[in-house]
């Protein structure tokens, strides 16, 4: 009997293998719509940009290592510093968390075979790649953005910055925003519509809640940035007036619109880190998350309240007192959902049997930096404190504790945690733990002294400083720290690169994780799940009876969906099975559309409006080609 069952299951997986097979070679990668391959493309591209942003950081730190540094000229310092910020935020953290981790993991965690819009998913990637190349082409052509990552007017207006630098910035960010918007729409629809039967909202993994919150934030935060950049380009290129007082504009308008985007952006950066923490902690503590529903709600609340605190970036701009007090209060309010999560993480660790392997160590580092950075953050909600320290290195210290310590540490832990799943091999645990300590010490040494030099009065963005101010020792320590940090990151890269080829083989579930990605083989097959899983709790991989029932259904051929390129769709709240969807497979059109859009932006930058219009027409034609390919009717 069992022999017959195994043979039946084998026939079905063989058929799925044939149906979902990738095209071979480079064409396969260029036309892929497989969320795992797109996730990997995102991963390697964002890592390349991370290297670029890291080199820029080291250049900055080398320049500032001692007084009167001459490594960079003032103008190249401005460009390097601006590109460091733009790269780390728009080309590394957002695409890494959503594009790489989100793409690879969300469908696997919810029991789907792909994203809701696989071709649009590919389009997001190609748009992202092209926008990154656009920004860096500007830098290498000597026209890199150079007015800081938040690009304040009037400095960014044509009178004061006459080159193409700021046009590269404004058009590049509009371009990049298109990619993020498409990705956000895709994630929300995937999470709403493609969850496995039984995975009602209250059983959805907390990582997916975090990605859901981030996606909603992106949808509502990006339009103000886009419009702001449109205003800036209209003013710079064709002489409209939005930001100059002489013609009825207002420079503060830029700051309002920028920070309406910019503060939610902070949570967009840090929320996926929360999601990764809530994935790693239960696995290594071997227990469910404490206060699961509260943590889910807290993730959504952080994103929501994040829209109401933006003016705390503008406390020193002369806003009315009532405005200051409102935003100071809102900034304190956001502490509540953040703290709920901190305590939930800690209680889950202490209430379980924690095994401090490398991924959990990185989460430990994350909690340390998040609490430290959060405490300096709450200090800024005190208006007089903010007004005294605004634009000093204290701010730089605060947001690097959050953006590097809190947002990137879980990413690094996540790289280790899901490495066996993606590659089918184990990383080296000893070196991984060593890399954690080097990275942790490097991070603390780089960013902690910045608090002190900030309090001593060192302003941010200065390209150099004089001797005898009492800053030199701290700055040297920061620079040493930056190189230690870089060494830690190189250790991680070397560990993963070597383990990819020489690591011990990993089975489907090396850590006994709770979520659905651990139920499939490592690396996952192109169709993800041989049989559509039925979910009855938030940790389905710990429900052994359910998984055995799945295996029996595979042998029986019950809901295997091996007739075509199919995935189930379910209802939004309760995840009741609703219909079977025929999904698109490989397509050249996403790449073609992205190429046309890139042409539009290059032509706008070089002021060829007519050609840009023609390229927009080409985009429309490519979209027609895209939609000629329809799913087969059943």
């Amino acid at each position: 009997m069992t022999v017959v069952d195994v043979a039946g299951a084998r026939t079905r997986t063989d058929r799925l293998e044939r149906i979902w097979a990738h095209r071979p070679g480079v064409t396969g990668w260029l036309t892929t719509t497989d969320h795992k391959r797109i996730g990997l493309l995102y991963l390697f591209t964002t890592l390349a940009f991370f290297v670029a942003g890291g080199v820029e950081a080291l250049l900055i730190r080398t320049q500032l290592a001692a007084p009167n540094g001459t490594v960079l000229s003032p103008s190249s310092y401005n460009a390097v510093m601006t590109m460091h910020g733009v790269t780390m935020i728009f080309l590394f953290v957002i695409p890494m968390t959503t594009g790489a981790f989100g793409n690879y993991l969300v469908p696997l965690m919810i029991g789907a075979r792909d994203m809701a819009f696989p071709r649009m998913n590919a389009l997001s990637y190609w748009l992202f790649l092209a926008s990154g190349c656009f920004l860096y082409a500007g830098l290498f052509a000597g026209s890199g953005p150079n007015a800081g990552w938040f690009d304040y007017v009037p400095l960014a207006l044509r009178q004061y910055d006459p080159g193409a630098n700021i046009d590269v910035y404004a058009l590049g960010l509009i371009f990049n925003g298109m990619s993020s918007t498409a990705a956000a729409i895709n994630f929300i629809t995937t999470i709403f519509k493609l969850r496995a039967p039984g995975m009602s909202m209250n059983r959805m993994p907390l990582f997916c809640f975090a990605i859901l919150a981030v996606s909603f934030s992106l949808l509502f935060a990006l339009p103000p940035l886009t419009i702001n950049c449109v205003f800036l380009e209209l003013q710079r290129q064709i002489g409209f007036h939005f930001f100059d007082v002489a013609h009825g504009g207002d420079p503060l308008l830029w700051q309002y619109l920028f920070w309406i985007f910019g503060h939610p952006e902070v949570y967009i950066i840090v929320l996926p880190a929360f999601g990764i923490a809530t994935s790693i902690i239960p696995t290594f503590a071997q227990r469910r998350m404490v206060a699961f529903p509260l943590v889910a709600i807290a993730e959504l609340l952080v994103a929501f309240i994040g829209f109401g605190v933006f003016a705390h970036h503008m406390f020193a701009t002369g806003l009315s007192t009532i405005t200051l007090i409102f935003f100071a209060a809102a900034s304190m309010l956001v502490v509540i959902p953040s703290t709920i999560q901190v305590f939930a993480w800690l209680f889950t660790v202490t209430g379980g049997r924690p095994d401090f392997k490398a991924p959990l160590l990185f989460i430990g580092g994350f909690i340390v930096f998040f609490v430290a950075g959060g405490l300096s953050g709450i200090m800024f909600a005190a208006i007089p404190f903010d007004q005294a320290l605004t634009d000093t290195y204290f701010v730089v210290a605060h947001f690097h504790f959050i953006i590097f310590g809190a947002a990137v540490f879980p990413l690094l832990g996540g790289l280790y945690y899901w490495f066996p799943k993606v590659t089918g091999r184990m990383y080296h645990e000893g070196w991984a733990q060593a890399s954690f300590w080097v990275t942790f010490v490097g991070t603390a040494l780089t960013f902690f002294p910045m608090h002190i030099v900030g309090l001593l009065g060192m302003t941010r963005r200065v390209y150099t400083y004089g001797p005898g101010l009492g800053w030199s020792g701290y700055n040297l320590a920061e620079t040493v720290g930056a190189f230690v940090l870089a060494a830690g990151l190189l250790l991680i890269a070397a560990n993963l690169a070597l383990s990819r080829f020489r690591g011990e083989p990993a089975d489907a579930d090396p850590f006994f994780g709770g979520t659905l990605e651990w139920t499939v083989p490592s690396p996952p097959p192109p169709y993800n799940f041989a049989v559509v899983p039925l979910v009855t709790s938030p940790y389905p991989n710990w429900d052994r009876a359910d998984r055995e029932a799945d295996a029996l259904r595979l042998a029986r051929g019950d809901l295997v969906l091996d007739e075509g390129h199919e995935t189930p769709s379910s209802t939004v709240r309760d995840a009741r099975l609703d219909e079977i969807l025929e999904m698109p497979s490989d397509s050249p059109w996403p790449l073609a559309v992205a190429a046309c859009v890139a042409l539009v932006f290059v032509m706008l930058l070089t002021r060829h409006a007519v050609v840009a219009g023609l390229a927009a027409g080409l985009t429309a034609i490519a979209l027609c080609g895209w939609h000629l390919q329809e799913p087969e009717e059943t």
Partner: protein, 193 residues
């Protein structure tokens, strides 16, 4: 296992509808930003519109916007017909909507060219925000027309579920564009209030 039984008919809305609704949510935010900027600049200004610039004209934008808003009716009718399996009727309704919408866009562009001279965006922030807002709105209408044109051609070749979902998404798009058109009109005319 009742959880694994497929229902007779789909209970929820299709993914395509959700994708469009979310896209429109971000578009509405975009317009919200434009309206917010208009209000912000207005409250910073002493004179609105600034001296030397006439108050906005009322009659022709009101008539045009009413005509555009009414096209929600044939668009919805096209969707109802397509769902009932009547492809030809759906195409006819779409063509009717297309004629009115294209007329609107043409008239709007003529007015727009005149407005650019009248509100002087190169001299005033008022002119800049008005011209930008109307330009973005016109671009929305143009995209909607292209979507409908494509759907009319495809539906004339036959009905498929993919095309019906496309039509449902386009109908939703037009309802939102038409609602935004009314808001754009109110903001445009607000200096007269």
């Amino acid at each position: 296992m009742s959880e694994l039984a497929l229902p007779q008919a789909r209970a929820g809305r299709p993914s395509g509808w959700w994708g469009t609704a979310l896209f429109l949510a971000t578009e509405v935010t975009l317009f919200g930003t434009l309206f917010g900027t208009f209000a912000y600049l207005r409250f910073k200004a002493v004179h609105w519109p600034p001296p030397g610039i006439p108050e906005p004209e009322v009659l022709s934008p009101v008539v045009l916007t009413c005509a555009l808003a009414l096209t929600s009716v044939p668009v919805q009718a096209a969707l109802v017909s397509a769902r009932a399996g009547r492809a030809r009727r759906a195409v006819a309704a779409l063509v009717l909507a297309l004629v009115v919408q294209s007329g609107y866009l043409a008239a709007q562009l003529v007015l727009y060219a005149r407005d650019v001279d009248r509100v002087e965006p190169h001299r005033t922030a008022y002119g800049s925000i008005v011209v930008t807002m109307l330009g973005v709105h016109a671009a929305h209408v143009a995209v909607g027309i292209l979507l409908e044109l494509w759907l009319a051609v495809r539906l004339a070749q036959g009905l498929t579920r993919y095309r019906v979902v496309g039509l449902a998404s386009t109908a939703l798009y037009w309802h939102v564009v038409n609602a935004l058109a009314v808001l754009v009109l109110l903001v445009e005319l607000s200096p007269r209030l």
